[in-house]
């Protein structure tokens, strides 16, 4: 292999040397002094006599007209001088026929010896100084070519690796940017297909209890697609990759295990687009990608677990509050649905929607600090009582402030009683000063309060409550949120959920005031 590489390098070196403009000019320039010189390049460190004869004797005017024995002697002499130049690693001057001169300059790089550049049949008064200049000149040209070759070799070897590294880095960025497992796995599959130029990719995760691999994401670009299948650990390429914890490669498949502490799954690729077999390099690249995928999958799983814990804490908190005033704090699925639907229509991101959902469960959690007598008072509230009630958004924030994951929920809870025209509480914020989540929550919680049953008033119908919301658009509520709310409330699925939940709402549930600023008047919670 090394010899082949050297041979290629040597050939490239002499090709470039032959084409070198600098060398040609040098020959012209030195030719003035050396005339009538015969220039030659020997592309081997140990040329054979017949090769020398081909190069020199065929072009030398003297040898052409000489007898064979002179020719043989000449070739032998040149061969001896070549050996001397190689041994001494320097320019060798020699006497040629008819009192003319010749010289041989070895082309070397460190200890590596590639060939010779030389001339013979040069006029006899060539001075050593001229030859010295020629040697330096030739050396410079050769070094320049060698550097060019080195650079081009580096370019050829390093550039593809740098591009591959850059691809791996990009893939890492793309798969690390999501913590949603349902989004992550298809993304890993698509990227694997793109990098491997394959037609099908399947990602399976291990179900340790059943010792099977469950298909989680498959992308199949062929016309005739394969159905998703469970695979037993140890069976087929994916099962074997998981069992042995190492890649399993065939001509038309490559199964790469996803290894954390244990094997958690496998990425399997099938059929390259160009019908070529999967290579060791493909295996190396996929192993790197699998390492990154494992980290991203573990992160997504941890994030999901953390979300579950957060939701569990919220639900526990809601259950505690619920035990105090049954039917009060556990929001109906339909209201959560309305809140999230409005959020989606307002292009809130995943985190914003999650915060809205959590806030919908906890927005009135602070009422736990309001005396029970005030909350269930069937009569009008006194000014003092109303002041107590106005504290509940801040109190709600106090309850959740130690849960870091709910940081984005706090502004929604704190400002969900602010009015669009600035007449709300606690700060009297206006328009865009009110966080968007809080503006959505204001509409949804007012709607919820109006249609909920209260001991002190008859609940409004969905149509009446909707009309109340519409009539306060631009004053109490953000008109944009109201517009979206009106659209959402007409949706069949929302209507169905609402009708079902409002109908089953037991009497006595929701026994509290709807402290929703102005809307309190409409819902019966009048203030003295």
């Amino acid at each position: 292999m090394e010899e082949t590489v050297n041979h290629v390098y040597q050939k490239e070196l002499f090709d470039r040397l032959a084409k070198s403009v600098g060398l040609k000019k040098g020959e012209e320039c030195f030719g003035c002094y050396l005339k009538p010189a015969l220039w030659w390049i020997i592309e081997k460190p140990n040329p054979k006599p017949n090769e020398l004869e081909k190069i020199i004797a065929c072009n030398c005017a003297y040898l052409k007209r000489s007898k064979n024995k002179n020719k043989a002697r000449c070739i032998k002499d040149v061969n001896d001088h070549i050996k001397t130049a190689a041994r001494e690693k320097k320019l060798v001057l020699f006497e040629c026929h008819e009192g003319l001169h010749g010289f041989i300059y070895p082309i070397m790089q460190g200890d590596k010896h590639y060939g010779y550049i030389g001339a013979c049949y040069a006029k006899k008064d060539v001075t050593p100084q001229i030859l010295d200049i020629f040697a330096t000149f030739t050396d410079t040209i050769v070094r320049e070519i060698q550097k060019e070759l080195e650079l081009s070799k580096l370019y050829e070897t390093i550039r593809p690796r740098a591009i591959a590294l850059s691809t791996v880095h990009t893939v890492h960025r793309l798969i690390s940017s999501t913590l949603n497992l349902h989004e992550l796995l298809p993304r890993v599959a698509r990227l694997s297909l793109q990098i491997m130029r394959a037609n099908r990719c399947s990602i399976k995760l291990v179900d340790a209890r059943k010792k099977t691999l469950l298909p989680k994401a498959t992308i199949d670009l062929r016309e005739k697609r394969t159905r998703l299948k469970k695979v037993k650990v140890g069976k087929y390429a994916p099962g074997k990759a998981v069992k042995f914890g190492r890649p399993i490669r065939g001509e038309d498949f490559l199964a790469t295990p996803l290894i954390d502490e244990d094997v958690i799954g496998v990425i399997t690729l099938y059929d390259k687009v160009d019908d070529k077999p999967f290579t060791a390099f493909d295996q190396e690249i996929m192993s790197t990608l699998a390492e990154q995928a494992v980290i991203a999958i573990k992160n997504a799983q941890l994030y999901k677990e953390q979300e579950r814990l957060t939701l569990g804490s919220i639900k526990s908190l809601a259950a505690v509050l619920e035990s105090r005033a049954p039917g009060t704090y556990v929001p109906k699925a339909s209201f959560l649905k309305i809140a999230v639907a409005i959020g989606q229509d307002m292009h809130l991101d995943a985190e914003g929607l999650k915060s809205l959902e959590y806030a919908a469960i906890l927005h009135d959690a602070g009422e736990i600090f309001v005396p029970e007598t005030v909350l269930s008072k069937p009569d009008k509230l006194t000014g003092k009582e109303y002041e107590m009630v106005k504290e509940h958004p801040a109190a709600g924030v106090t309850i959740i402030r130690h849960i870091k994951a709910l940081k984005t929920v706090m502004p929604i809870i704190l400002y969900h009683h602010e009015n669009y025209d600035g007449s709300g509480y606690p700060k009297g914020l206006k328009k865009d000063q009110i966080p968007v989540g809080a503006r959505i929550m204001a509409v949804v919680s007012a709607f919820e309060a109006m249609i909920a049953k209260r001991p002190y008033r008859t609940p409004k119908t969905i149509e009446e409550a909707t009309e109340e919301i519409r009539s306060h658009s631009g004053t109490q509520f953000d008109p944009k949120v109201v517009d979206i709310f009106l659209k959402v409330i007409r949706r069949k699925d929302v209507r169905a959920a609402l009708s079902k939940e409002v109908k089953i709402d037991a009497p006595g549930n929701g026994a509290r005031h709807a402290f929703n600023g102005d809307i309190a008047e409409y819902t019966g919670g009048k203030i003295q």
């Binding site: 960025r173 990227l191 690249i285």
Partner: protein, 84 residues
């Protein structure tokens, strides 16, 4: 832009050449700009032009977009001819 028009733009052409020579590559606008030696913003716009006509496939995420080469073998053959 159509296929012939993109080949008349030096930036687009360089990008196509890069992806044609490195068909397994996926890179960001910044990465591609480095490989083709062009301005990042210019490359960013050109990449989207190439997505529009199907030469590149975008892999979008919240933080960045990775671009990869088309898998359409007919289109790849056509590009091969145009690059020559």
């Amino acid at each position: 832009m159509n296929l012939e028009a993109v080949f008349n733009s030096p930036t687009h052409r360089k990008i196509i050449q890069f992806f044609h020579e490195n068909q397994a590559s996926i890179d960001t606008p910044k990465g591609v700009a480095t490989w083709v030696g062009e301005d990042r913003l210019k490359v960013k716009d050109a990449l989207e032009d190439l997505v529009d006509i199907g030469i590149l496939t975008p892999h979008r995420s919240t933080s960045t977009t990775g671009y990869g080469y088309t898998r359409d073998s007919k289109l790849i053959r056509k590009i091969e001819r145009l690059l020559k």
